[in-house]
Structure formats: C-alpha cells, structure tokens
Amino acid sequence: MNFSVLQFPASNCDQDAVHAIRRLGHQARMVWHKDNLPPGTDAVIVPGGFSYGDYLRCGAIARFSPVMQSVRQFADKGGWVLGICNGFQVLTEAGLLPGALVRNRDLQFHCEQVHLKTAAADTPFTRRIPADRPLRIPIAHGEGCYYADEATLAELRANGQVLWQYCDSEGNVTDQANPNGALHNIAGICNKGRNVAGLMPHPERACEALLGSEDGKWIFESLFEAGRERPAAGTP
C-alpha cells in the first residue's frame, strides 16, 4: 500500500510515520507542503509536529497550504486520510473533521502513555483492533482537549464517529484517565463518510516492542486490510 506522509515546515513526526509504515512492510513517502499528492496514493497521513510553528492556532495555517487542497479532493473522492496529533488539529481546522482541539485543561504539555478504548470497529482505521482490551499508546501534546458543541457531539455519537476514548487499564472511561479534559474523553474521531480520521495519541510511536508498545500497529494494520479489499479510491 502507498502512503503519502505530508511534510509541513516543522512537521516533526513525519519521519516517525514513514518509519512505522515501512517497518510494517508498506510504502511511504513524504510529500512537501508546496506540492500535490503524488499519483498512486492509497492513503494520506497528516503527521504530528507543529506544522507552521503553530503560531496562530495549531493547524490553522497548514490548512491553507497547496497540499491540503489536494488532500481535500482526495478525501472527497473517498480516499483514506489519517491525522495524528497536530495532523488531527490540521484536519479540524481544514473542516475535514468536526470540532476543535483546545489547550489541555491543566495548561501543561502532556507526554505520557495512555490507554484507549476503541468505540467503533466498523472503519478502515479500527477494523483490525482487538476488541478485548484497551490500546496503550503515547500522547504528546499541549492542545489536545477535544471540544465540540452539543449538536455536533450528539451527531458524532449518533453516527458512531467517536473512534477512541481515553480509558483506564481496564477499559473504563473515567475522568482520571482523561489527560487533557477532552469532552467525553474523546481521543479520536472520524468523519461521516468514515474515510477521514484523526486522533491525538501517536500510534506511530507504538509499533515496536523495543519502544514499549506495539498497540499502535493495529491502526495501521486496519488500513492495510482495508487497502487489500479495495483499490485506491481517491487518487487525483
């Protein structure tokens, strides 16, 4: 499967995403923010980092970049797009995902392992995730508190768009397990079409036993399996 990993100035998890995908046996290349998506792209990763330094709001400038126009077209045609951390912020700013990510409730940056409960299994991002236990994946963000108005939250829930929630090691969604104050402990969501998803935790940092957890690979494995079932949909 061919992944395109976007590279904004000061993206800093781009290499990590490429590393994880290649290690899992698939192709990944970086796409510079001034370019278009290359033909043959099966899925897009919008990686973590601080895109343009995050000087306005996280992801607020990145959405205007040329590559994001091409990602939008790709997504409109049903192409798979996964935003990680800052990439999630970029996708909400670009309107590809609903809601917003605001400052963590304690106003501090949090880098730590968290547990995630997978709330919907019927997406190309979650279909391979084992149902019996929570995932253990690290977070690293200062603005990861998911926020949306009541109507949007109701819609997300009605459509099963909430994909991951922060939980404890037993899988219970508790306030203590919530590292940033996200509403309903939301760690990741998808769009209505279920082809665009974003999450604050970093699955690409949890794909090797050496690094302490391999749980992140289930998210990539889900995409690989989806990719085997259908040819690329949205290649421009």
Partner: protein
C-alpha cells in the same frame, strides 16, 4: 580609520563598563596598534569574556583527558566534539549553560539555552536526535523559586517539543544556595557519518559568506558579557534586554535547510551565531582557517531601523547561521534557502588578509587581526586558597546525631524531598518520545535511545553511492543503542570539591553501567562562582581535578563543555556544581537494563560495600538523610574510590552481557532504602497505571553499624541488582571473583516493601511510598502564595 559621529569616545569608564581591565584594554590597543573604535571595544569585550574565552579556567580545562581512539573531533577544536560509534557512524554532543538569562527571564532564558545547544550540534553537520538537561533551583517553599522552576521547565518544553527533539534525561536539585541564581544546563546529541563532519572554518579566499536566519534585532545585546558577571539585584531590570527570544519553528527550518545544504557539497564552512553573534562567528571562522573575512553590515537583514554597527555586531538574535560557500555554487544555496522560506543574505567574502573587516554605511568600522583576538585572549592563573568552612566540615562527627528511630517516616520524608522525589511533573512536559527512538524513557538510571537510519542527516549523492557500495544487498542498517545521563551532587562538591567532582563522574558512569552501557565520552558544565575570590577559585580547581581523575579512570574523555562563572547573588555563591553528562554505548538491544524489579521470586543482590566502615561518617556526610532529618548540610561526603568503582562498573556490564541481570539500580541520594523503594515503584506502564513489585530485604547481617547508615547512608559504588533465583549464587560468585563485594539481601515479591536491620524492622505498601514520591513535586507546585 573613520568613526561614526554617533559613537561615544573611549574612556576608562566605558572600558570598565565593558568588563575589560585596564591591562586587557592595553593589550587590545597593542594588538590593533591604535585605539579601538567603539564597535571594536564591544568586540574585544565579548570575545574576551569568560563565556567566549575561558580566560579564568583554560589552564584547568587543559588537565582534562581529551583523547581516545574513538575521538574524531576533540575538545576545543570546534563547536562540539565528535566520537566514533562504529560502522562509520559518529555522535556529536555537548552541554551548555544558560544560567544568567534564566535567572532574569526563565522561559526565554531556557528556550534560548536549548536552541543554542541544538545549533552547536547541527553546525557540526550532525542531525540533533536527543536532548537532556540539568537544573538547579532554590527551595520550592518560595513563590519566586516556583515561578523560575515552572518558567524554565516550560521554556525547555516549548523549544524542544516544537523543534521535535526528544528530551530524554535530566536531573533537578533544589537547594537554598541556588536561590536567585538557578542553573540551567542544556545538552544535545546529534548523529552523523564520519564523512559528514563539518568544520567551522572560513576556508577558500574569495568564497562568499552567507547569512541565513531571521533578521538581526537589538535583543540579546552582549549576552555573553552579561553571562560573565555576578548577578545583582538591579540586574533583573537592567539586563532583561540582554536575554534573547527563541523561535523553535525557525530553528527547525534553519536546521533542515543547513543539513540539506551540506549534502550538496557547496559549503566550505559553517558556524552558528551563538554567544556574541556575528562577532564570534566571523572571528572564530577566520581564526580557525587562518584567513580573513570582510562583511558589509548594510547587507545584514535587520529587524529595527537605524541599528548601529555596535548593535549589529553584538546582537544575539537567535537561530542565525553563517555559511561560507564555494564560489560559483551560490545558486544551489539560494534555492535551498528559498525552499525553506528562510531569510538570507550574501554579506561578505573570505580574504587572505588575516583580518576581520567590517564596513557599515560606506565606512570601515572594524579592522582586527582575527587570529590574535581569538587566540591571544588573556589567560589568568587565579589564586586559590582553601576555604575556611572546610575545617568545620571535616571535623564534623555523628556524635550528636541520633540514629533513625522511625525509619518508615524517614523514608517517606526522603521520598517526598523534592531533590529525590519523582520528576514526572517535569519530564511529562517534555516530548520524550518524538523520533520513535526512546527505548528507556525518563525515570530509570539512564535514558537509552536507538540510533536508526533516519537519525542521519541527508547524504550527498556521492556519499550515498559509497555507503551503498559498501552495504551487502539486504543488509540492515546497523542500529546503535546509546545511554546517557547527567549528574552532579552539588552538596558533595561544596563539602569536598575534589571528592565531589569525582563522585559526579562516577555516578554518571554507574548509571550507564546499570543500563548496560560502556562510556564513550563526557561533556562537562562548570557552574561556579566568582573566580577572583581565591576560596571560590579553589573550589573550581579542586572539582576540576576530581572530574579529570574520574574521567581518566573510566576512559571517558571530555569532548567539550562550558564554563559558567559568577554564579552568585547578594546572598552568596552557589554550591560549586560541575555538571557532567556521559554518553555510553550498549552493544546489543538485549543488554538494555532498567532499574525496576521484574518478576516475583527474583533474588536481590547488593553489589558493593553496604557501608564504608573506613569513613567516620559511614556515608552519612552530606547525605540527604542528614539534611532532611537533622537539618545538617555538613560532614565530609562519602569517599569515592575510583578503582573500586571501575571494577564495579565493568563487572556489572559483564554480568548484564551474560544475560544474568534482570534489573540494576544505582544507590545515590537517600541510600539503599530509597533505591529499593524506587526499584519497587518506579515502573510506569501508562497514565495512572504504575506497576508495583514489592520486596523483602534483610540487612541484619551488618551488625556493627548504625541503621541510618545502612538504610540512608550514601556510601559510594553500590548497585542493587536482581536476577532469577536460580542465578543468585552464580552472580554473587562471579562478582566476588572480580573483586566486587556482593551479597544476596532479599527477594522480590508482593505489594509491600519490608526492610530489616539488626535492631529495626518496618514494612510499607509500595503504593503508599509511591504516592509520597510520585506526587510530591506537583503538590509543591500547586501550593498557593508564598
């Protein structure tokens, strides 16, 4: 030589304001053969500040061991030293202080400290892959200290997280001597191939000189000179303008652009504009190459209108680089700067005159022989006198000190003492996992990182072809595992500078051994007080002697570092704090070892002498226990026998390599009881998910000593290791065979920690101990008001 009408006349008063002595000024006049211009006076002032010239410490620094077969670039040659790690790969690393700026403006002071050290590393052609730091503050009961602490941590986090470098290791101590004068030492490590080493030399007469990075502003004017003075009460207000402002986003772009640029082969030399900005970079580059350099200040991008030549030359605006380009290859350079949307300008040319010449507004404002100002800086052999307080320190005995009666209470107080308590409040704010290479996260003895292919800077086509031709088809990249740690117990150094200096290096190397690593090299940061005071210079001299002896003993050559003097405020000098960062290599991933207990039923072994019975204070001198339980910061600190330490470290690494050791944790502040508690409680699986593993330990075999010495004494060269029960006697025998005292002291298991000495027995749930230790810093930081 014409002079601008607005430049002030050079008076003795102006010379003194520039921190130059009358003799130094005369030397400058002699070098020039005339009186300096105002701009030149500024240049001499910063170039001959301690920060840039090491004029007070150079004779001492020469005593450090600096050679080993692995050293590719040695101490003092360039911005950072470089060490071979095998397979054609190398690491560049260095530690540097930003103490004075952080005292005045903690957030920006810390950010620019991190930014500066990252630039030192990529200037060498290396890709920065991890950061660490060493911090000191006053006591957290003061609201001002909490403000400084919080600001510094946020500053480090902001810069490192945004740049995308994992901050993987560090240390934080709290002691009254640092009140008003915090220490902020930042470390960075980068990776490169041997062929990618870049020199900061202005080679090639006729080659153009490029400036890249943000425009030059008035910020950070003469920061290097500011860092070389005592802090005064007025300094906070007066010198705020000397603190620079950091922009990690810009640094990331400059770093990527420079590494891409180096791969083109168009670069003849590169240097960052750090301390003393444009002055230091032009002067040092010309001095290294034996060439001259001529620059036009009108071409330098400027943030403010009407800046004088003095201001432009001395500005310390951040994230700027000076790049010498092979003539004819300018277009390639411009293309890369434009790709990264970076401001750049061609500002000058390399000459054969040996002079640094600066023009501004059509006039020549500077004309200095570059090598002379860089190499002929003054050197002072300062007077050293042993301080009087040491008499009382050495005479101190335990006679009036009662032994522990409630050891559990003592243990809990020690675990909650900020210098010992978990630093999760700090490192949780640092992204310590970006780059997907952190194998052992903060919270064990040493951090361990994996060096993989994407840690390297982009290669030139020629180098890539050569590497490929030397690689068999299908052969994987030779991944490397590095351990690193930063250590220094300033209290020990205060109580005995020589022993304390030795102990700092020894503890760092012991931490490496516990993680399975063998030292490659060290970088030091001498944080000291005023060298003009003979008692304080004696502290510097003795602690350097200790560092040097220990670095020799462990084959850890010093590859470079930094001196920060004048660390004192109206309340007095800081404790002498020669921070040491040591980097080690772990041969195979299966040798990577962590400090926490692993499995129920494992045997606990104490390696090293439980108590140094030859020490009249039994390891309690300068100990945390004496400070916390008795309010005493005195007594000769535990003796550090380098030969015993070396034997312990090699034996431990040997045992680890044979696959016998499951966990290893060094004994340091708080002694054996704190070490055992940490083994039982420090493994953190995830947020709110610590993994507890208790133990039962019997120390009643040591009959003829105080319980406090056994439990809380800080006798040097001890490690708590565990192994499978069936391997217990094998480990003990092999250690003893090598000459390391070894004793089985207990078993891992349950959720309680139970300790027994000759006269005492106590037990606590690991969860209770964890609570005291894990939450202490957060509790201190959340307290209201004064």
């Amino acid at each position: 030589m014409s002079m601008s009408m607005t430049e002030p006349a050079i008076t003795p008063d102006l010379v003194a304001k520039h921190n130059l002595t009358p003799e130094e000024y005369q030397h400058a006049v002699q070098i020039l053969g005339r009186n300096p211009t105002y701009t030149e006076l500024g240049i001499f002032s910063v170039m001959w500040s301690e920060h840039c010239s090491y004029k007070n410490t150079r004779p001492l620094l020469k005593t450090f061991p600096t050679r080993s077969p692995r050293i590719l670039v040695g101490a003092g040659e360039e911005n950072a030293g470089i060490i071979d790690i095998g397979h054609g790969l190398a690491v560049a690393f260095k530690i540097e202080s930003h103490n004075h700026p952080s005292a005045v403006e903690p957030f920006q002071g810390a950010t620019t400290g991190v930014g500066g050290i990252i630039r030192d590393i990529f200037t060498m052609g290396a890709r920065p892959v991890c950061a660490a730091n060493s911090l000191r503050f006053g006591e957290l009961s003061s609201a001002e200290v909490r403000r400084l602490f919080s600001g510094v941590v946020q500053g480090i986090a902001h810069y490192g997280n945004c740049f995308g470098i994992p901050t993987v290791a560090g240390e934080v101590y709290f002691d009254r001597s640092y009140e008003g004068n915090p220490l902020v030492n930042a470390f960075c490590l980068g990776v490169l191939r041997h062929e990618q080493i870049t020199r900061g030399a202005a080679r090639g007469v006729g080659n153009p000189v490029f400036y890249v990075g943000p425009a030059t502003g008035r910020d950070g004017l003469a920061g290097a000179a500011f860092a070389s003075q005592d802090l005064t009460e007025a300094s906070a207000e007066q010198q705020r303008g000397a603190v620079q402002v950091g922009d990690p986003f810009m640094e990331k772009l400059v770093c990527e652009a420079c590494l891409e640029l180096l791969a083109t082969g168009a670069v003849a030399g590169m240097q960052d504009m750090g301390a003393a900005g444009l002055t230091c970079s032009t002067c040092e580059m010309a001095a290294r190459a034996g060439t001259g350099i001529e620059i036009e200040l009108d071409k330098v991008p400027q943030r403010a209108p009407g800046m004088s030549s003095y201001e432009i030359m001395l500005s310390e605006s951040q994230e700027r680089m000076l790049v010498v380009v092979h003539k004819g290859r300018e277009e390639e350079v411009k293309r890369i700067f434009e790709k990264w949307d970076l401001p750049w300008a061609e500002i000058g040319v390399i000459t054969d005159t040996g002079h640094m010449v600066v023009r501004h507004g059509g006039r020549q404002v500077v004309n200095i022989p570059a090598r002379k100002i860089a190499d002929e800086s003054p050197v002072y052999h300062r007077e050293a006198v042993e301080p009087a307080y040491l008499q009382a320190v050495r005479a101190f005995r335990l006679d009036g000190v009662s032994d522990t009666v409630q050891p559990l209470e003592d243990l809990k107080r020690l675990l909650a003492w900020p210098s010992i308590a978990s630093k999760n409040w700090v490192y949780r704010q640092y992204d310590h996992q970006v780059r997907a290479g952190t194998v052992v996260l903060p919270g064990s003895d040493a951090a361990v990182i994996r060096i993989k292919e994407d840690c390297l800077p982009v290669m030139s086509a020629e180098l890539a072809a050569r590497v490929e031709s030397q690689t068999a088809p299908g052969q994987a990249f030779p991944e490397k595992y590095l351990a690193l740690t930063v250590d220094c117990n300033g209290t020990y150094v205060y109580l005995d500078p020589y022993e304390g200096g030795k102990a700092a290096v020894t503890e760092a190397c012991r931490n490496l051994a516990c993680s399975g690593a063998i030292p490659l090299g060290a970088t030091d940061n001498l944080n000291m007080a005023n060298p003009h005071k003979p008692e304080l210079f004696w502290q510097i001299r003795e602690s350097v002697r200790g560092l040097a002896d220990a670095c020799r003993a462990f084959d850890a050559p010093v590859t470079g570092g930094n001196c920060s003097l004048y660390n004192q405020n109206p309340n007095g000098p800081i404790d002498p704090t020669p921070t040491v960062a040591v980097v080690g290599l772990i041969e195979k991933p299966e040798h990577i070892t962590t400090q926490w207990f692993k499995d129920e039923g494992d045997t606990i072994i104490l390696l090293g002498e439980a108590v140094d019975l030859g020490d009249p204070l039994l390891g309690l001198g300068g100990s945390a226990w004496l400070q916390v339980m008795h309010g005493l910061k005195t007594g000769a600190p535990p003796r550090c026998d380098l030969e015993a330490a070396r034997t312990l470290h090699t034996t431990l690494v040997g045992l680890i390599q044979s696959g016998l050791i499951k966990s290893a944790h060094d004994c340091s502040e708080g002694g054996l009881a704190v070490t055992l508690a940490e083994c039982a409680m420090s493994r953190m699986e995830a947020r709110g998910t610590p993994r507890f593993m208790g133990a039962t330990v019997d120390l009643s075999g040591w009959a003829e000593t105080r319980s406090s010495a056994l439990l809380f004494g800080e006798t040097q060269s001890r490690v708590v290791a565990t192994c499978a029960a069936r391997d217990g006697s094998k480990v003990v025998e092999r250690a003893r065979l090598m000459g390391v005292p070894a004793q089985m002291i207990g078993k891992v298991g349950g959720k309680r920690l139970t300790l027994k000495t000759r006269g005492l027995e106590f037990s606590a749930s690991v969860e209770e101990l964890h609570h005291a230790w894990w939450n202490s810093l957060a509790k201190h930081m959340n307290q209201p008001g004064e």
